[in-house]
């Protein structure tokens, strides 16, 4: 996306509106789900992956340092994405309402 730089002011607009969106959405999540909320936030903050992919894939003027940085960034961001979503799914699967609480028992003890 180097061929079309988005002007700074537009980026600021987007930032301002996203902050509002974030506050509106997250203040409605009940305390019951705050732990999965945080792990899902971890997963989406792995969005750095899109930057990391470009860094690791744009071979061209690559020095060993940029290759290392790009590859390590891809690894860590993927760790966040995969780990975050999976652990959120694992937690959310445990939350059952009274009516369904006793069907598939999913416990270790």
């Amino acid at each position: 996306m180097e061929n079309q730089i988005i002007p700074f002011v537009f980026l600021l607009y987007i930032l301002a509106l996203s902050v509002f969106l974030g506050f509106a959405l997250i203040s409605r999540v009940p305390p019951l789900l705050h732990t999965p909320l945080m792990s899902e936030a971890n997963a989406i903050s792995g969005i750095t992956l899109v930057g990391a992919l470009i860094a690791a894939g744009s071979g061209d003027a690559n020095s060993p340092l940029t290759i290392f940085l790009g590859t390590a960034a891809v690894a860590m961001a993927t760790f966040n994405v995969v780990g975050g979503y999976l652990v959120t799914e694992r937690m959310l699967k445990m939350f059952r309402s009274k009516t369904s609480a006793h069907s598939p028992v999913h416990s270790k003890g």
């Binding site: 705050h34 909320l37 971890n42």
Partner: protein, 458 residues
């Protein structure tokens, strides 16, 4: 329309899916669906990015992706629910470092030329560095690889100020000659040091706040990285995550009646002297057998768990007790204090894992008005979060902290090993109330004894 525009259109779809993911987390009935939508948004964003013209080789992407995905999956499937705070701290740390590396590699490839990019780069390195080492220290404290108590040393504040001043002063040469790499590396090194210095003086009990703050940092660094590499998606997601961390930090601080400032820098202030418990009188112990007789005739029971419940591994025994009480005709609820557990919402996950239905998990503000009508409140592994001194004793260090008002119930059972003071080192006057009965012993043990009583009575 060129290819880059198409990629951005996919990014918009991803943003919408992320937003829906968070919206669906508003209810436990839709939350799982939301998580999958969010994951779909991520998949689309990644696939779209892989088609970008800049990407000419895939070998390093495949290598990094394979390592990250397998480690992520391994840790996510293996982590116990009690370890969730550590896992989340680790994720914050890696997220922060990933952003730093993306910035660094952008910096290597071409020298920033506008004030906006230089500022964004500077902030990214600073916040990202702090997030990485700060999270690692938080992780080490939570997993008890480092002692949980505040680590203090002589002249610590001076060191902190020197490091902070160093980072801030380095901004000047960085603006003047952004191409000079040693300045960049010094900023990074000092930021990494700052992260360690900021978190080591914070005690283990305050980690829920630290985790929330680091969560918002990990969002902020994604945001600033978005400005560095001119990527809208990073800015939107960074803002969402940042808002998440800020809201959760606020909720945690409010639940402890402390300012964020006090939590983060409180270790340096002179500690208020522990007040001697004004609570006087006799504690009234009761045996599990007698407790059973009272529980048997109770119509409504509220179980108030603290982290001690999880430490004693008593979740399953307590859930079984709850079920037997229900079968016996009682209305059973669990009262959850916001800071019960080691991170926001932690106690809910621990009880959900033990198969307690979420309709029975009631938050503090909803249970307190009903407390007058409760026959028996059972306090297990909780202490400060049920101490009535917080409501009326102005000399108490926890004065002003909202509590679960178990003392209003007709009878209160406190299951406790001994009369030792709680986490904050404060006497709990609840133990001396007329309507309180102490059941001394291990939480799991006592719960199992009560379960056995119920079973033998049928």
């Amino acid at each position: 329309m060129n290819h880059a525009s198409w990629i951005n259109i996919v990014y918009i779809i991803s943003c919408v899916l992320f937003a829906f993911g968070l919206k669906f987390l508003g209810s436990p009935a839709t939350a799982r669906q939301g998580n999958w939508m969010s994951a779909l948004g991520m998949l689309l964003a990644v696939l779209a990015t892989l088609t970008a013209k800049e990407i000419i080789g895939f070998q390093w992407i495949i290598l990094g992706g394979t390592i990250g995905a397998s480690l992520g999956a391994f840790v996510a499937m293996r982590a116990a629910m009690t370890q969730m705070p550590e896992m989340v701290a680790l994720l914050h740390g890696f997220g922060g470092l990933a952003s730093v590396f993306v910035d660094w590699s952008a910096y290597q490839n071409h020298t920033p030329d506008t004030v906006v990019v230089i500022t964004a780069l500077y902030l990214s390195i600073l916040i990202g560095g702090v997030t990485f080492t700060g999270s690692l220290v938080a992780w080490a404290k939570l997993s008890e690889r480092l002692p949980g108590k505040p680590l203090l040393f002589q002249g610590q504040q001076l060191v902190n100020i020197a490091v902070l001043a160093g980072v801030l002063l380095l901004a000047v040469p960085f603006y003047m000659t952004p191409a000079y790499h040693p300045v960049f590396l010094w900023i990074l090194a000092l930021s990494l040091a700052l992260g360690v210095l900021l978190v080591i003086p914070i005690g283990g009990a305050d980690m829920p706040v630290v985790i929330s703050v680091l969560n918002s940092y990990s969002g902020l660094v994604a945001c600033t990285t978005g400005f560095v590499i001119n990527n809208v998606l990073l800015i939107v997601v960074g803002a969402l995550v940042g808002a998440n961390g800020i809201i959760l930090s606020y909720i945690m601080c409010k639940a402890m009646n402390r300012s964020l400032n006090n939590v983060l820098f409180g270790a340096f202030a002179a500690r208020k002297k522990k007040t001697e418990g004004t609570a006087k009188g006799e504690v009234k112990p009761i045996s599990p057998e007698d407790a059973f007789l009272i529980l048997e005739s109770a119509r409504s029971v509220v179980i108030t768990p603290g982290y001690g419940l999880a430490v004693a591994q008593a979740q399953h025994a307590v859930r079984e007790l709850g079920e037997l009480l229900e079968k016996n005709g009682a209305d059973v609820k669990y009262a959850i204090h916001p800071v019960a557990g080691r991170m926001p919402g932690h106690m809910n996950v621990l009880l959900a894992e033990a198969n307690v239905p979420y309709d029975q998990l009631v938050e503090m503000d909803h249970i307190n008005p009903l407390m007058d009508t409760v026959d028996v409140a059972i306090v297990i592994g909780a202490n400060d979060t049920v101490n009535p001194a917080a409501l009326h004793d102005k000399t108490s260090p926890i004065y002003g902290m909202p509590i679960i008002e178990t003392f209003k119930a007709k009878t209160v059972f406190v299951i406790k090993r001994s009369m030792a003071a709680g986490f904050a080192g404060i006497e709990n006057e609840l133990f001396y109330y007329d309507n309180t009965r102490m059941i001394f012993g291990d939480a799991k043990d006592i719960a199992q004894k009560l379960v056995a009583e119920f079973k033998s009575a049928v």
